[in-house]
C-alpha cells in the first residue's frame, strides 16, 4: 500500500484564530502562545495508492471458511477526478476554515460574560475539559452542508449538473416544494383547530373522561375487571380439563369443548360434569367480557358522550397530531415547536441557498473518494453445492463534503466513581454521486457495460447525530468476555441538576431535550441501476431520526 502518496504542496498547521496570510512567529511570540488547539488544513493534495494491493484476512463465513479480501484501490482527490483516473488536487479544510483538534472547557454554569463561555458547549459542565475534533465550519448556507444538502433533496437534483442549472431563487423549485409540504401541515393543524375552541380544555376533558370516575375510565375498568374474571374462569376450566379428566376423557374433546353427557346429563362421569360446568361458566364470563369490550368501543366512538361533540378517540388522535405538528404546548396559538417549526427552519435554510445559487453564487469543490475490493469466498447454491467465487466491489464517491462534523470526548466518574469515557458525534456527509459497481473483470475496458451495471446513488446526504452533551452521552465499554459495548444513554436529567422526582421539572427537561437535541437524517435523492428510465427507484428519505436510547453489544456468531 501507499505505493504512491502525494501531499502537495502544503500541510498547514495553524492556530484556529488565523484569519489572514501566514507569517513566521518569532520566539517571543511563540512563547506567549497557549494550547487552545490545533488547526489543520490539507491544501492541494492527492492521495492515491494506485495498484498496490492490501490483503485483509480473518473474516469468516458461517461455515467457518475464510473470506479473503483484496483491497486494490483507494484514492482521495479533488472533485472531477473521473473515478480517480485524473489527479485533481483536493482540499480538506482551509486556512480560514480549518479542521480543528482542541481541548475546550464546558460552559454550563458560566456567566455569558466569562472569558471561557461558549454557547456551543453549554451542555457540558464548566468543570470538565473535552477533547474535540471538528471539521471545517461554515456560516454561509451555500457552503454549509446541512442546508445545502436539504436544498438538493427538495430541488430533486445536484445543482450545476446537466439539467439542474435553473429553478433556484426566492421562489425556486425547492422552496415551492417545502412550502407546499408546510402548507399541508398547516392545513392539518387548521382542521384540528376548527373542531375545537380550546385545545387545553379538550386535553383536560380527555384526562377527566379517562379518570377513575370518568366514563372512559369506568368503561376501561369494567373491561379489565371482566377480563380478569374471564381469565380466572379459563384457568379453572383448564385446571379441570388437565387435572380431573382422565386420558380417555381428554382424548375425546379439546379444551373448551363440552363432554357429551347425553340428553339427561347422566351418561358421563362426575368429573366430566364438573368440567362441563366450568366450560359453561367460562362461556358466560367470556361473553360478559366481550360485552364490556363492546361497551368500551361504543364509549370511545360516541360523540354524544362528550360536551365537545367530538368522540373520545377523535380527541385523543387530534391532540396527538397537534403535538406532532406544534409541540407539547397546547396553549400556544403559534406553532413555535414541533414539525411545523422544524420544517420552517429547514425552509429558511433552503431559501437562503436557493436565493444564493439563483444569483450565481457557486459552492466550493468537494472531494472524490473511491476504493475497489475483491472478495474470494465460498458460495452455496440452493442444493447445497459449494463453489469458490469472487465478488467485486468498486465504490466511487464524487463531490464529497464533511463540513460541520465533530467528535467530542470527555471523562466523568461512573456510578462506581471510576472515570468513564463519554462521547458525542455529529457526522455530516454529502456526496453528489455515489456509484457502486460489482461487475469486476467482466466489464473492464467496456464503458457501456460498466455504466449499465452500475448502481447510482445521487444526491446522498446524511447528518448523523449521536449524543447530546452530558444530557445524553455515548459510552463505550468492553465486556469481560471480550465483546464491545456501545451505549447512547437515556436522557439524563440528573446530569444537569434537575430534580428527577419532580414531574413538572422532568417534563420541562424532556420538552427542552426534544426541542433542542439535534435529529438525524438520511436522504438519497435518486437510486438507479444503469441508465434506463425503467430502473429508476426514486428517492429514499429518513427524516427527523433520533435515538432516545440505544445500546449495542457485540456477540460471537
Amino acid at each position: 500500500m501507499n505505493k504512491a502518496l502525494f501531499l502537495t504542496p502544503a500541510l498547514l498547521a495553524a492556530a484556529i484564530s488565523a484569519q489572514a496570510d501566514l507569517v513566521a512567529l518569532d520566539d517571543a511570540s511563540l512563547s506567549e502562545t497557549t494550547g487552545e488547539g490545533l488547526g489543520m488544513a490539507l491544501e492541494n493534495f492527492v492521495f492515491n495508492v494506485d495498484d498496490a494491493v492490501t490483503t485483509v484476512t480473518g473474516i469468516e463465513s458461517s461455515d467457518g471458511s475464510e473470506v479473503n479480501v483484496a483491497w486494490t484501490e483507494f484514492y482521495i482527490m479533488g472533485e472531477g477526478s473521473n473515478n480517480g483516473t485524473t489527479e485533481v488536487a483536493g482540499q480538506i479544510g482551509s486556512v480560514l476554515h480549518p479542521w480543528v483538534l482542541q481541548s475546550v472547557r464546558g460552559s454550563r454554569g458560566l456567566a455569558d460574560t466569562d472569558a471561557s463561555y461558549n454557547a456551543d458547549y453549554l451542555n457540558f459542565g464548566s468543570d470538565i475539559a473535552l477533547l474535540e475534533l471538528a471539521t471545517d465550519q461554515y456560516d454561509n448556507p451555500v457552503e454549509n452542508i446541512v442546508p445545502y444538502s436539504q436544498f438538493s433533496l427538495y430541488q430533486g437534483c445536484v445543482w450545476g449538473q446537466p439539467g439542474c442549472t435553473t429553478g433556484a431563487g426566492a421562489n425556486g423549485v425547492a422552496v415551492q416544494k417545502i412550502d407546499a409540504e408546510i402548507a399541508g401541515y398547516q392545513a392539518d393543524r387548521t382542521e384540528i383547530d376548527n373542531r375545537y375552541t380550546n385545545l387545553v380544555q379538550i386535553n383536560q376533558t380527555i384526562i377527566d373522561d379517562a379518570s377513575a370516575t370518568g366514563y372512559i375510565g369506568v368503561a376501561e375498568q369494567e373491561r379489565d375487571d371482566a377480563k380478569a374474571v374471564s381469565e380466572g374462569s379459563y384457568n379453572d376450566m383448564a385446571f379441570h380439563y388437565n387435572n380431573t379428566l382422565d386420558d380417555d376423557e381428554r382424548g375425546e374433546i379439546k379444551l373448551g369443548q363440552r363432554a357429551d353427557c347425553g340428553l339427561f346429563n347422566t351418561s358421563c362421569s362426575s368429573d366430566e360434569r364438573t368440567y362441563n360446568a366450568s366450560v359453561d361458566q367460562y362461556d358466560e364470563d367470556f361473553y360478559a367480557y366481550v360485552d364490556k369490550i363492546k361497551a368500551l368501543t361504543e364509549a370511545y366512538n360516541d360523540p354524544d358522550r362528550s360536551s365537545t361533540g367530538v368522540s373520545y378517540i377523535q380527541r385523543v388522535r387530534d391532540i396527538g397530531r397537534f403535538r406532532v405538528l406544534c409541540g407539547s404546548d397546547l396553549s400556544s396559538s403559534e406553532c413555535t415547536a414541533g414539525l411545523i417549526a422544524r420544517k420552517q427552519e429547514t425552509r429558511d435554510g433552503i431559501a437562503s441557498v436557493s436565493v444564493a445559487l439563483g444569483s450565481g453564487v457557486t459552492r466550493r469543490g468537494g472531494l472524490d473518494i473511491g476504493s475497489k475490493f475483491a472478495f474470494t469466498l465460498n458460495s452455496t447454491d440452493q442444493d447445497g453445492n459449494v463453489t469458490e467465487r469472487t465478488d467485486f466491489l468498486d465504490i466511487d464517491m464524487k463531490g464529497v463534503y464533511f463540513d460541520g462534523s465533530h467528535f467530542r470526548l470527555w471523562s466523568r466518574p461512573d456510578e462506581n466513581g471510576q472515570s468513564e469515557l463519554n462521547g458525542e458525534l455529529s457526522l455530516n456527509l454529502y456526496a453528489k454521486e455515489m456509484n457502486i459497481n460489482v461487475c469486476g473483470e467482466a466489464c473492464e475496458g467496456d464503458a457501456t457495460l460498466t455504466a449499465e451495471s452500475t448502481l447510482y446513488l445521487d444526491n446522498f446526504a446524511m447528518s448523523l447525530n449521536l449524543g447530546y452533551g452530558e444530557i445524553q452521552p455515548m459510552k463505550f465499554g468492553v465486556t469481560s468476555d471480550g465483546n464491545f459495548e456501545f451505549e447512547l444513554v437515556k436522557p439524563d436529567a440528573a446530569a444537569i441538576g434537575v430534580d428527577t422526582s419532580d414531574p413538572a421539572a422532568m417534563q420541562e427537561f424532556y420538552n427542552s431535550y426534544y426541542e433542542n437535541a439535534p435529529k438525524s437524517f438520511i436522504y438519497v435523492g435518486n437510486v438507479q441501476v444503469g441508465t434506463g428510465a425503467g430502473s429508476n427507484l426514486g428517492s429514499i428519505t429518513v427524516d427527523g431520526l433520533r435515538s432516545q436510547y440505544l445500546k449495542v453489544t457485540s456477540r460471537d456468531i
Binding site: 465499554g477 414531574p503 432516545q548
Partner: protein
C-alpha cells in the same frame, strides 16, 4: 471475524479509556484464554431455480452482524421508493376515501401514494408511564443479529446489483407509525367468535339459513389471515402476473378467503362456507381496515421473553431495481423464496414460533370486536404519544 484479536491496540485503547483506575496486570495464563469475538460473518449464496421474472442466475452476499441491540428510536418520516407509479399497473392500488371509493386527480386519473413505503412518526420501542415524566421508563425494541444483504443478477457473465435488504435475525417489541403506504407482505391473524358475525348480521336465527347455522355455532372460535388488499374491491391479488400489491393502505380478509375453525363437527365444518369474504365483508361484517388504524404493532409475542422464544424472525425491508427472489428467513417449514419486484418491499409476515417450523405466528393479531377500532399508538415520547 477478529478470531484472534485482529486489532489488539483498538481493544486496549477502549479498555484503557473505560477503566483508568484499579488496573491489575493480567497473567499469561489469563491472557491465553482471551479471544476476540467473531461478530461478523460473510455468507455467499446463489439461486437459479426461479421462473418468470425470477428466472436466471442470482447471487447473494449477506453480511451478518453479531449484535444485540436495544433501542427507543423515532423518525418523523420514513419514505422509500418515491417514484412514478400508475394505478392498476404493476399491482399499484389507488388511494381511497373512507367509504372505499377511489380518489381521482384533476385529470380524472386515480390518485396513488407517492412512495412504495410511507410511514410517519415511525418508532421502535415505547415509553411507559409517559404522562408522568418522573416515573416514565423506556421499554426498548430488541434486535438480535441484524444483517445487510446484496443481491446480484448475472447475465452473460455480467453482474449487476439487483437489490439490497436490511433485516434482523430476531426482533421483539413495539413498532409504531402511521402506515400511509405499504408495499410487500403485511400479514396478521384475526380471531373471534361466530357470535360476532351473528350479532352484527342476524336479529334472530329466523333471518335466514346462515343465521340459523351461525346461531348454533356462536361459541365457535374462528380465525383467518389478513393481508394487504385493494379495498375498492376487496381483492388481495395484483393480477397481470404481478406478485403483490404496491402502495396499499388497507388490509383485511381478501375476496374468497374464509374463516377457519379448529373445532370439529357438522356446524364447525360449515364455517368456511358461511364466512367467505367478498368485497371487504364477511357475511355483512367489515373485513377491510385502513393500515393507519393500526398505529402500534407488537413484533413477536408480548409477555414472552426474548430468550424464551418471544422474538419474531424474517422481518426485513428491501429495495430492488428488478425482480429478486430473497431467501425466506421466517423459519417456517413452508418457507421458500420471498419474490420481490422493482421498488421497495417491507416484509412483516408470518414466522415460526418457539414450537418450530409448523408453529405459525403473526406480527399482528386482531380480534373481530376491536378490529374496526384499530390499535391505538403506544407512547414513544415522555409527555406526548408521538412526534417528539
Amino acid at each position: 471475524m477478529f478470531k484472534r484479536m485482529m486489532y489488539p491496540m483498538a481493544f486496549a485503547t477502549l479498555a484503557a479509556a473505560v477503566q483508568v483506575s484499579a488496573l491489575e496486570a493480567i497473567s499469561d495464563r489469563e491472557m491465553s484464554e482471551i479471544n476476540g469475538q467473531a461478530f461478523i460473518k460473510v455468507d455467499a449464496t446463489s439461486y437459479n431455480q426461479g421462473t418468470g421474472d425470477w428466472a436466471g442466475q442470482y447471487e447473494f452476499t449477506k453480511v451478518n452482524l453479531g449484535l444485540d441491540i436495544e433501542t427507543l428510536t423515532t423518525a418523523d418520516t420514513l419514505k422509500v421508493g418515491e417514484f412514478e407509479r400508475t394505478a392498476y399497473q404493476d399491482g399499484t392500488v389507488p388511494v381511497l376515501n373512507d367509504d372505499r371509493t377511489i380518489i381521482y386527480d384533476a385529470n380524472g386519473n386515480p390518485v396513488v401514494h407517492e412512495a412504495d413505503i410511507i410511514i410517519n412518526d415511525f418508532a421502535l420501542g415505547r415509553v411507559e408511564n409517559y404522562r408522568n415524566a418522573a416515573e416514565a421508563t423506556i421499554d426498548p425494541f430488541m434486535i438480535r443479529d441484524p444483517y445487510i444483504e446484496l443481491a446480484y443478477k448475472v447475465e452473460d457473465g455480467v453482474r449487476r446489483v439487483a437489490g439490497v435488504r436490511i433485516g434482523f435475525a430476531q426482533a421483539q417489541g413495539w413498532l409504531s407509525g402511521e402506515i400511509v403506504s405499504l408495499t410487500g407482505r403485511f400479514q396478521g391473524e384475526i380471531r373471534g367468535l361466530v357470535a360476532t358475525v351473528y350479532e352484527q348480521n342476524c336479529d334472530s336465527w329466523l333471518d335466514g339459513f346462515n343465521c340459523l347455522e351461525l346461531s348454533l355455532a356462536q361459541s365457535t372460535e374462528i380465525y383467518t389471515q389478513i393481508d394487504l388488499l385493494d379495498a375498492s374491491n376487496g381483492s388481495g391479488t395484483a393480477g397481470n402476473g404481478e406478485a403483490y400489491l404496491k402502495r396499499a393502505s388497507w388490509a383485511g380478509v381478501p375476496n374468497g378467503r374464509s374463516f377457519e375453525s379448529d373445532d370439529s363437527g357438522f356446524i364447525a365444518g360449515l364455517i368456511p362456507t358461511l364466512t367467505v369474504a367478498d368485497d371487504c365483508e364477511v357475511t355483512g361484517t367489515p373485513a377491510c381496515f385502513r393500515t393507519t388504524l393500526y398505529q402500534s404493532i407488537y413484533v413477536g409475542q408480548e409477555g414472552v421473553g426474548f430468550e424464551e422464544g418471544g422474538a419474531a424472525s424474517g422481518t426485513f425491508v428491501s429495495l430492488q431495481t428488478e425482480a429478486v427472489p430473497w431467501e425466506d428467513l421466517s423459519g417456517l417449514d413452508s418457507a421458500d423464496r420471498v419474490l420481490t419486484e422493482r421498488g421497495a418491499y417491507l416484509n412483516m409476515a408470518q414466522y415460526a414460533g418457539p414450537g418450530g417450523g409448523e408453529d405459525v405466528r403473526y406480527p399482528l393479531y386482531l380480534d373481530l370486536y376491536t378490529a374496526t377500532n384499530g390499535q391505538e399508538r403506544v407512547a414513544t415520547c415522555v409527555g406526548q404519544l408521538k412526534g417528539c
